[in-house]
Amino acid sequence: MLLDLFSILAIGIGAFFFLAGTVGLLRFPDSLTRLHALTKADNLGLGLVALGLLPRAETPLSALKLIVIWALVLLSGASTAQLIGRALRRGRK
């Protein structure tokens, strides 16, 4: 019961971050700020959704997989944000 409440809360907050990130992506004025909104949604939103799903994992291995998925998205999200940001700065000069 308590775990269910935890899951609902964490996934709910995660979904809110995705929503906020999407609004930012659609509404922010330039590419760098849009990138900022997007990466926050990915990192925090997905992290919270994964956290909320942890108690529902059937085996410790599938729980570990959830964490690995989050870590991989963190890695690729952070790196591609850097790459896009760098490319944008180069394009402006």
Partner: protein, 317 residues
Amino acid sequence: MSLLPVLDISLALLIVAIAAWTIAARDLFAAVVGYVAYGLLLAFVWIRLYAPDVALTEAAIGSGVTGVLLITAGKRLGALKSAAPDAPPGLALKLAALVLAALVAGALGAAILMLSDPPASLAPEAAAAADGPGAGLGNAITAVLMSYRSFDTMLEKVVLILAVIGVWSVGSDAAWGSAPAPLRRPRPYAAMVFLAQMLAPIGVLIGIHIFWTGANAPGGAFQGGALLAAMWMVVMMARLAEPPRIDAQWLRLALVAGPAVFLVVGLAGEVTAGSFFAYPASFAKPIILFIEAFMVLSIAAALPMLVAGPPSGRSGQ
């Protein structure tokens, strides 16, 4: 009305919208990004149709590798365009394209409308085969791919090799045997190098895992091989490794290994199990995994070679 059908219908509508947007997009890069998003959403559709194997393939090949391929091709087209002024297509050409598109669309529509009811299906036969000589595999999809339609699966890899030969043939005569041009600028960004160093070892591990687990769970040779191919591409983009010379012995062996081993084992089936591409029942699983291991190698070698493009005249490693 429950929530799930609503989500399914929205997914379908979203896909149609993105497909239309991809066709309508004027900018080449934007169209490619639309196509990648289209592929990823299609993977969701396959998940909803309870076909995780197809979803994995669609995400890895249809969206990932094809996306890289199209972006690279788009870049080269851009370079060509600035060199040669192109004449806009004439009215006759536009009309011909219109007629051809209408014919293809009409034929597809007619084929779907005229399907017999119930539609002809090989599914029962394939399901029976999955319990037959390929038995011992927990994943019926792999069993069907490797024992019911083994010849098709082998020929798919041959097509990949033909495509690589086609790409190589586009290079100039003088460049034959040399290495394709590097995938990126001379000095890659530090973030790209970091990503390649962190991601490649993990990605290789996951690729091998997806191949290995494909015997019993969703996964398989194509999905695992595509992941390994992607890791090689990431490493090449970070300039941690250069594209190999196309006359390198190891590269050519890796390219033909999959279909060659498949064919040899298939011929051996004539002796050991009584027919072409049949496996002795007691050994089916190890034999199938053995063939698949070489197919993973071929796929992992072929896809990056398609992206790397024709030989450029560089001496390579």
